[in-house]
């Protein structure tokens, strides 16, 4: 085999810990929240780089999002990927996982032949883990999820999967789609000379609905089967009893209460 052609899907996500709801508008307050390359997508890029080191080839990173999502492609190019594809168009806005996977699949078909598609298992903003398998579905590829190790042998991928109570080794013929977890590797840092190369602009292609030749009725919010009915902050139970004082007394009060409730 003369080199692998690997496609990696990546997503720009808000650093989730700080996301809050604006109580007035009942919408997400994203302002001022830093955007990052989704952590497990970084693992997928690293996995692609390792495979390229062993087997040679090309790595194409693809992302869908607003124009500023180009930033994560810059980061991925600086890690060592060869090419970035940004799918951006107002028509893509509001896509759920099915339509996101569909849109990605059209772009990947347009990119031509490939040996392997690597995805992070899930993105930290939604934690759905759905786009990878749904993308495999649209491309009619076999999938291997929860990968902790990947090697390529004679046109097959051999993958170790981390499941709840077991570890499974599987073999699948290329082309295939693999989703990786954080256990697969420790991603490298972007390299300075790569950053310079990444900045020349010629290595990022930008495509919209027109380039993908998909009618707008099949894209974005309107085509998405799922819709958000409402968002809210998690329910907090009403305040219980705060007990203060000397440890001995507090403990005594607590045990009395628990006995009253028949909990002991």
């Amino acid at each position: 085999m003369k080199g692998l052609r690997i496609i990696v899907t990546v997503k720009q996500v808000p650093d989730t810990a700080d996301v809050k709801i604006d109580p007035k508008t009942n919408s997400l307050m994203r302002e001022g929240i830093p955007s990052i390359l989704n952590p497990e997508d970084k693992n997928a890029v690293e996995a692609a780089l390792c495979l390229k080191q062993q087997h040679g080839g090309t790595i194409i990173a693809i992302t869908m999002g607003p124009p500023q999502a180009e930033e994560v492609l810059g980061e991925v190019l600086a890690m060592g990927a060869d090419q970035g594809v940004l799918l951006t168009d107002r028509a893509f806005a509001g896509s759920d996982t099915l339509i996101t996977a569909f849109t990605l699949s059209r772009a990947i078909m347009k990119l031509g032949k490939y040996d392997l598609i690597l995805c992070g298992r899930q993105a930290i903003d939604g934690d759905t883990a759905q786009v990878g398998p749904q993308l495999a579905g649209f491309l009619e590829l076999p999938q291997v999820t929860y990968a902790e190790h990947i090697s390529i042998e004679k046109g097959n991928a051999v993958v170790r999967r981390g499941l709840e109570d077991s570890t499974e080794w599987v073999r699948v013929k290329l082309p295939t789609l693999v989703t990786v977890t954080a256990a697969v590797n420790a991603p490298r840092y972007p390299m300075l000379y790569n950053v310079e190369a990444a900045c020349d602009g010629s290595r990022i292609i930008i495509w919209g609905a027109q380039e993908l030749k998909v009618p707008e009725t099949m894209l974005g919010l309107n085509a998405s089967p799922t819709g958000v009915k409402k968002i809210f902050e998690p329910e907090r139970k009403k305040k219980g009893q705060i007990i203060t004082g000397d440890p001995k007394d507090m403990t005594g009060i607590l045990i009395d209460k628990l006995q009253e409730l028949n909990m002991l």
Binding site: P142, Y146, T226, I243, L254
Partner: protein, 394 residues
Amino acid sequence: MITLIPKKCIACKLCVKACLFGGVRLEHKTPVLTELCTGCGACIDVCRAGAIVSSGKSTGQIHNLALYKGIWVIAEQRRARLHPVTAELLGKARELADVRKTNVSAVVLGADIKHLSNVLIQHGADRVFIADAPFLEPYRTIPAERVIAGLIDKHKPEIILLGATTMGRDLAPRLANRFRTGLTADCTGLTIAADDGLLHQTRPAFGGNIMATITTPRHRPQMATVRPGVMQPQFFPDRNGETISVKVKQQASDNAVQILKTVKKRKSSISLEKAEVIVSGGRGLGESKNFRLLEKLARVFSGQVGASRAVVDMGWIAHEHQVGQTGKTVRPRIYIACGISGAVQHLAGMQESDIIIAINKDPQAPIMQIAHFGLVGDFKRIIPELIEQLKPAS
């Protein structure tokens, strides 16, 4: 409206691939529209033979929603034993079916699993589809997807629930994809809304900081994966139900993925999900060795030790002890949180506990807001007192 001209068709299948909705398929090399066709026209653009034409605009009508009836649970089993999430799903499905005035069906795939039918019925199924064949054990995506999709296509359930396990989360997106329908991941709440009759699927997003309620208004089936440990199983020892054996045949494509070997992970002595009492520690413990004090208290209750994500990330204690969004969801009789501030991600995993006791220096810590009893002070002094005062009683 889309019109097909079969005479011109060259059976190249491009239209089938182009259709997002599964609205066209080839039968004996002749194209036919299915009830899923939305009239969007994507197939017209790709047809090189001019065999597809459009008359008028898209109808916007997506599915004949009334065709879809019943609630299905895709059961999960390994080596002929059911995963606990299956009983939880059936418990929830039973409740939803009673509101929706419909039936519950379970689908189970594997080898030598005929005995599971009765178990599924006892947990709430009215009807069980069993596909029993060696090639279906252990679970693999492609054959499972093919067999279950065949059943869905034939019987058209309105709602399908799967566990949000590695299996459910591998399979559910493929099934949703086949039917081009909506799927909501990792739900923690499911209700049938009184106004629209839709399944309202509530799930945490943004690491548990936000809850979102999702619906699938115009597509069927409505699909969800459900977080293990959240729903309550029910048990009806004398229930009767119908068992249907599904005839299955292996296909060459089933072997696209071959399982080379499976190694069971070392069985852990920690089973937080089953513990009646959990004593958990967080960053406020100061150092890892203070977990020993927590272990002592846990022993008094014959309980287990839990932990926050922060201390697991710092390597103070193994991941199997972690409670929360990215750890385990628990609902013990008593949950004692020591030195845990109560980040949303932790609360998500324990707030359903019967009694929550927080021991914390800071009376303003979020954990104190949800605790039934909040003890303000130093755990190093309070826990030994607790151990002391509890011992004579036991």
